[in-house]
Point group: C2
Chain length 381, copies 2
């Protein structure tokens, strides 16, 4: 018997209450049975996205949401700024290429946060730029980008939208869509929403809806306007992923019971405890300026392979975190603290990392020194 | 207390064994935990599709599969034949329009099956036609189209593929993909696969893969080649809908335990019992030539509203079938007999229809006369 601990940055653990809700007998999505589910999801997502706009939910991965955030608002040849500071930043460039959109790449060294002045300068020099594409939390590096700062840059420009991939950010950190002036805000089900993968949720501002009217990139399955027309009637354009919607209604109910302030405070605390715990054991965080509160990318100490640390966590202690991706393979390993996470998930992560590294011969700090630091943070609440 | 009976043509009932499998704690899709699931699904889908090709599974509804079946094999301006004999046939035209493909519409009156000679004539007159798009089972009308006959028409043409939407057909009726020479075969999770909605599965022949190399329609999230490269390594391009994959592994296991011959024989028997039961109560089937074995569209008797029959089945007896769509609204009502369906689902359907119609004042046949006919069929096995 070995207990399993899922501490990966998505999918994250699904609460038993949600699993139970999802395992009820199937219902029909066009029958009255499904209407209360749609209504709960509509209201709950508006609350979570902090927007008065409808939030569109499609059956698909987060990448489907990212693709929809381009094809629904752009035409081939349109110029956009793409902030590229990691594996998910790179994805904007790939989607742009597939649809003939012209990206102006703002390259951010992996581990850094985007330099706003660089974006501001490009924007100022070209009134034709239609959008900025950025991650709030770059999952490959554990870095946070300054979304509020970027929103200030697009606020005065009627023809430029800010598109934010908040797949590992929404429900973790306060991102008030309407208040900040974000135009397209995307999340996925398998992160802070505490669900299995399979849903992407996308909210769209008035400014972005108006751009969508002239956007010529082809789209059909991911046509957000068609979904909006349907959701306004408590319906869906295509067959929705019924069980995931039922789970979403339940997880939103749990989040609403906690409240936004406490939800964000919990994630802030868990993230800080993780970082302090990691440092207390003599390790360092990969994010240089602003780390994400959703997950922590930890630098493998000199002479140790990050991939081996990830693998030993799994094989020795049943902890599934994540390794490094692409250029970070072997250099970092990652643990998540978003969604259905609490005090002892952090203690588990830090103590597990300590034990694995000790068994690998690490001498940088005594066992328990990281745990103690995490406890100090956690005890202050 | 009112027991609920889901007899809609998708979503269909999910077996308790599958619901249980899907409610296990979440696992990570890039960890070794998920590899046995991928391997079971790969092998099981090849078996079900009767193909040596890889079957691609994406997070999305059946419509995502239909869109992928155009964008991956065509370029804007390409000419294709679209068989349009119902609501799902119409969808080919809408997708073609969104992507700049030129459809040659073969209009089939709702209720009829496609006339092969009409398709043959169009094909013969234009060597540039790249594809035929058709439903195997048109869910809006309950009609079966002759897929084997259409496959004979494309067999000799190296540059023309046959694309079959088998969303309510695969796992119901024998459609041996490789043997018949079908090039693209699509299904969805919420039909005969006995799962919640949220997955589309698409198999692709060598001929179609070779067309995909020159296909210029833009695609990213639904890029099947990218998925193929991944599935060959027991991986997925994007985060898969983990819980639905786990359910799919389980439902494929159940289907494999039954065996293809028995699976098809069961559906054939249930469909025949439904049709005989319906006729035994003095009603008629909407399909004129070849009815689908997946579902039965029943003509509302003269003076009775099909929508009211559908609604009364729900409110009086907890039976959720389906009404008619678009031009058939009020004229037909539909019951499904695909997937997790057996003898007493048919008895339930027929007896429920009898009781509802009797209460609505129908005098065409005595109570039980349809049930008796269904029993006669069912008792013969």
């Amino acid at each position: 018997m070995k207990k399993q601990y899922l501490l990966a940055p998505g999918p994250t653990p699904v609460p038993p209450e949600v699993l139970l809700a999802m395992s009820a007998p199937m219902i029909h999505h066009r029958s009255p049975d499904f209407i209360p589910v749609i209504q709960k999801v509509r209201a709950g997502l508006k609350w979570l996205f902090q927007t008065s706009q409808e939030v569109i939910t499609v059956a698909g991965s987060g990448t489907a949401g990212m693709e929809a955030s381009m094809t629904n608002f752009l035409s081939p040849g349109d110029k956009v700024i793409a902030v590229n500071g990691g594996k998910f930043g790179e994805r904007w460039l790939k989607i742009a290429k597939a649809y003939g959109v012209t990206p102006i790449e703002v390259t951010v060294p992996w581990g850094d946060s985007v330099d706003l002045s660089q974006v501001e300068k490009i924007l100022a020099g070209d009134p034709a730029i239609k959008a900025i594409y950025v991650q709030a939390s770059e999952t490959s590096t554990g870095v946070w980008h300054d979304i509020q700062g970027l929103a200030r840059l697009t606020a005065g420009r009627e023809q430029t939208i800010l598109v934010v991939d908040a797949i590992t950010a929404l429900g973790v950190v306060n991102i008030p869509m309407d208040q900040w002036g974000i135009d397209v805000l995307i999340t996925g089900s398998q992160k802070a929403l505490m669900l299995p993968p399979g849903l992407a949720c996308i909210a769209v501002s008035e400014k972005a809806w108006s751009l969508s009217q002239t956007a010529k990139c082809p789209r059909f399955y991911l046509d957000l306007k068609r979904e909006k027309d349907n959701i306004l009637k408590d319906s869906n354009a295509w067959t929705p992923a019924v069980s995931l919607w039922i789970g979403l209604a339940k997880s939103l109910e749990m989040m609403q019971a906690e409240g936004l302030d406490k939800l964000f405070a919990r994630h802030r605390l868990l993230a800080r405890a993780t970082r302090e715990g990691v440092r207390g054991f003599g390790l360092s965080i990969f994010a240089r300026q602003t780390p994400s509160d959703a997950l922590t990318a930890i630098v493998a100490p000199e002479g140790f392979d990050g991939e081996a640390i990830y693998k030993n966590l799994r094989s020795q202690y049943g902890i599934t975190g994540a390794g490094g991706q692409d250029q970070l393979k072997g250099k970092v390993f990652r643990v998540s603290h978003m969604g259905y996470a609490d005090t002892f998930d952090i203690i588990t992560a830090i103590s597990g990392i300590e034990m694995v590294l000790a068994r690998m011969g690490y001498k940088g700090a005594p066992l328990g020194s990281g745990v103690a630091k995490a406890q100090e943070v956690l005890i202050q609440g």
